[in-house]
């Protein structure tokens, strides 16, 4: 188990199937991550990014495979940044991975890993997978999933759509809610979002845990005022005829978006175990 991110570089194989580890690696912190992934850095910073190691492998023709290892503040954050845009459930590497056209991403413990080999070839894909096995094998611990995602009822939940975040920008991940931080989401308010399949359009369930009931109540008030126009029961139809509903349980706020009717909203709330 690496004690710090530098150890990954030492542990990575020097050569693999004709690809040699280039020297030296690059290291990034929140202060300079944007020099490496300009425009993408904020996504990582919003998940408590700590530092990153970037290692290149090159072959005789100077083709490149880029290995990027991100150390996040916690395992839930590593899961969150991984799940941010995943499309499928795939457990071949780490605690969950996604592979498409030469790019593999996976998470394990507090690490999020990207191995990129464009353009994709069958031979390069094998090298990518071998590197992934090496990196994942070097991380001894499995990280805990964010506790709040366990509260999402499993019935009709599309597992690949489960998201975890604590920055309001990601509130609109599947369904446009607001340009504003209408639920006062911040670093101390873990949130989970999932998409539910049914006949007709999908609906969405958002859960936000606040440090205390007073903070949750304030968010409840704001949401009802701004998006529910003060609807007494905490739910109202949109102009498209879909239903939005909010329920607060102490320090937990539950919001259903895009439900077909009020009955569905109530049924979803009833299935949440808090």
């Amino acid at each position: 188990m690496p004690e710090n991110i530098n150890e990954f570089y030492r542990n990575l194989p020097d050569a693999i199937a004709g690809w040699k580890k280039a020297d030296p690696p690059d290291f990034y912190t929140p202060a300079n991550l944007s020099t490496y992934i300009d425009g993408g850095a904020e996504l990582y910073i919003s998940y408590d990014f700590r530092n990153a190691l970037s290692v290149k492998y090159t072959d005789a023709a100077r083709n490149e495979i880029a290995v990027d290892i991100f150390e996040m503040g916690s395992a839930p954050d590593a899961f969150g940044v991984f799940a941010h845009s995943r499309e499928t459930i795939d457990d071949r590497f780490g605690q969950g991975c996604e592979y498409a056209a030469g790019l593999l991403t996976f998470w394990k413990d507090r690490y999020y890993v990207s191995i990129l080999a464009y353009p994709e070839t069958a031979a390069k894909r094998e090298v990518v997978f071998e590197l992934a096995r090496s990196i994942a094998g070097g991380i001894g611990n499995k990280g805990a999933l964010p506790p709040i995602i366990a509260l999402l009822p499993a019935e009709n939940l599309l597992p690949a759509t489960v998201r975890y975040f604590h920055h309001y920008i990601w509130l609109n991940s599947f369904y446009f809610v607001s340009h504003e931080n209408v639920l006062n989401i911040g670093n101390d308010t873990p949130a989970a979002l999932g998409k539910y399949r049914q006949d007709g359009p999908a609906f969405f369930l958002l859960l936000v845990r606040y440090p205390d009931a007073a903070r949750a109540e304030a968010a409840d008030r704001q949401f009802r005022q701004k998006l529910l126009e003060g609807a007494e029961e905490g739910m109202r139809p949109t102009k498209e005829g879909r239903w939005t509903g909010l329920e607060r349980r102490g320090d937990l706020i539950c919001v259903v978006f895009n439900a077909p009717d009020a009955q569905t909203v109530r049924a979803v709330f009833a299935r949440i175990k808090s």
Binding site: G39, A100, L103, F174, P201
Partner: protein, 296 residues
Amino acid sequence: MKPGRPISRRQFIRSASAAAIGTSLLFSGQEMTAPAGRSRVVLVRDPNVLDENGNPRYAVVEEMLDTGIKALTGKPDPQTAWKTIIRPDDIVGIKNNRWSYLRTTAEVENYFKKRILEVGVKEANISVDDLGVLRNPIFQKATALINARPMRSHHWAGVGSLIKNYIMFIPEPISIHPDSCADLASIWDLPVVKGKTRLNVLVMFTPQFHSFGPHSFNPKYVWKYHGLMLGFDPVAVDATGLRIIEGIRREYFAEDRPLNPPAKHIAIADTKYHLGTADPAKIELVKVGYDKESFV
């Protein structure tokens, strides 16, 4: 990647009758909404623009841009059209985008240089740049800017847009990042660019409609759209490009799948900064050429 459907060159529609209305927009402030209250956006598509390796064919790019500039200006030939945009004594900065996975492309940049030289601008007074614009002497004293880039999904701004392409005109680009780059349009009011943009071109040969991973690119999520969009109003062009990206996402994912995060900076460029219009009702969209799966 979804392949485009081939059509013959003869099927390429050359008429731009909808653009027959002339324009009087000249030389400055062209990023503002046209006086008539509608912003013209020209979409030109040709399925032959990419070769078998996915690289742009210069001859087709030139024909598309010539067609587009005629439709945009209402002028009968590209040379006359360019004379309404650029003066011989202009100092011209061509602001491109050099993101390694999806570039403005040399073909588009070389077209600009060719037509600008034809207007009579000295070669020494033309420069193409992206990251170095603030240090580039031509951009420092530019009297005219051409703004051209591809549209792509973006982890923080929703999309990489024409509005966003000017982010390198501020010394600390990261300073504009809060709230998912909501205030990008404020850059357009800085003296280094204000009133100088003569033409905006959104390169839609292979727009990227979704991304994952730290490098924000995956060839699985680019779409062979074979298009170019031209306009004087960057907000109108971006808003139309955004509709195309959203349409591609609907087609690919077989459901409404909003960009995450939403590209709010485009709407805010209209409603807060009045840089142009994002309202489709105020955009005159002129489509020229191949129109299958245009999504607008």
